[in-house]
């Protein structure tokens, strides 16, 4: 078991996170008759703008999440404005998973205090359809704190920086986070 863990850590150390912008790929929904290939490393203005909008939605999702989980009781009326705000940035599992997370934290008497440091990058953009955001979430300063003791309730031995992947979709004329998954076993 220890060997397996060491191997995992080694792999993580020798394999740094990919450069975000360099790997950005663009897939257009319909084939374009232009002579230049649709996959390009030089980002055209439309894509750059789309990427910015996607990152805004992703960041908006995170901002709402961080504030919701700071006072996680999902049934507290005081939190309803935050959930309404979240709806601007999230649908489907991204929303329902946050409910489950908030419920469980609240049920355990724990709140997430502080703020994570994010490092998101966009890939697989399909204009007006979908995109992927990969991230490296640094939770050094975003910790589960017990309401009763005021102390950290984090399980010992966990990585503080783990990767996360997210899909966004173009829905109701805007980009929204469709799903978000932290990969607790992938350090970055």
């Amino acid at each position: 078991m220890a060997g397996m863990l060491a191997a995992t850590l080694l792999a993580a150390c020798s394999n740094p996170a990919p450069e975000p912008t360099a790997t950005t790929t663009v897939v257009t929904p319909t084939p374009t008759p232009t002579p230049t290939p649709s996959r390009t490393l030089s980002v055209d203005p439309t894509v750059a703008a789309t990427e910015a909008v996607i990152l805004q939605a992703y960041q908006g999702y995170w901002d709402a999440m961080v504030r919701i989980l700071a006072n996680p009781d999902p049934f507290d009326d005081a939190n309803k404005p935050l959930w309404n705000e979240l709806e601007q940035y999230a649908v489907d599992k991204a929303q329902s998973d946050l409910f489950a997370t908030a419920y469980q934290l609240s049920d355990s008497g724990i709140a997430m205090k502080g703020e994570p440091v994010l490092d998101p990058s966009v890939s697989d953009i399909v204009i007006d359809t979908s995109a992927t955001v990969t991230d490296c979430v640094d939770s050094t300063d975003w910790q589960p704190i017990s309401a009763a003791t005021g102390e950290s309730a984090a399980a010992p031995g966990q990585a503080t920086r783990v990767t996360a992947s997210s899909t966004l979709i173009f829905h109701d004329d805007r980009w929204v986070v469709n799903s978000y998954t932290p990969n607790r076993d992938q350090t970055c």
């Binding site: 995992t8 999902p74 309404n84 489950a100 469980q104 049920d107 984090a154 996360a164």
Partner: protein
Amino acid sequence: MLRRLALAVLLALLLGGGLTDAAFAGGPVECPPLLPTCYVEVEGPGDPGTPADPPGGGSGSSGGSERKCIFDWGPNFERKEVPCYDDFFGWFNDESSCYWKLTDSQPPDDVTWEGHYPDGAIYDVYCPVVFPGSEGGRAWRATPPPGYGGVTITPAQLAQRAVDQMKLTGPEIHMSIPVDRFATVGVPVWLWTEVTATTWGPTSATASVPGLSVTATARARQIVWDTGDGRSETCRNPGTPYYTGRVVSPTCQHVYERSSADQPDTAYRVTATTTWDVTWTGGGSSGSLTVTRVSEGSVRVGEVQVLVTTS
């Protein structure tokens, strides 16, 4: 607190065994879906997740006038009372233990329709605990889920409906004197009822509406036999069917002291009232109630005329 062994195992899998068993010593480890960090749950007095008792403390015997919503994921999980409705998350569905809310915009191009548009509707489903088979998220349904829009009937009202379904009756009256014969003053008349599900019990029935189901069980407690002569016998048993060779009933009888000759139809009117104790459970609450059922019969009582002749 919510999940126990299952999560510990899950975490062990997720972390590839990186955590030693000692790490679990503080309590169960929770890994809600969106957190990069798992946490150890510390049970303390401030823990809001105390199971069972409703917040209002209404655990009285006749409680349950309102529907209660219990988050119940089976034996490995703790049962929790949760709100039946939330402005944002919608209505609690007892079957899935998730909240269901009609999606505001019902966008026709949403993949959730799976080709059904415009039949049915799409919902946002929020589950307090997420695992395969109950993840939450968007879902299509042809009809609203159980409990959607609220259950207007209370469990107690539904229990009454279950009682109606049982078709409880009064006793099927039997006496040791056939109807065409006369009982005799001073001689015990045995009283009994045929023992069936509907005359003595126990019997049970379940009444349901979408989102709520109540099961009631009824047992007869006693039969009060009003024997028509101004007296009555209370028997906490169904009585004993008459058999020859015995005069006194081992369980339930009445001894008439006067003839029924002066009664209407020259018979005593017998009114037998069965008292039923009903207990019910469902919709997160339980309760009890008492109902009575009446049967009627009659008996003619004569005096033995002893003709004494003297010579």
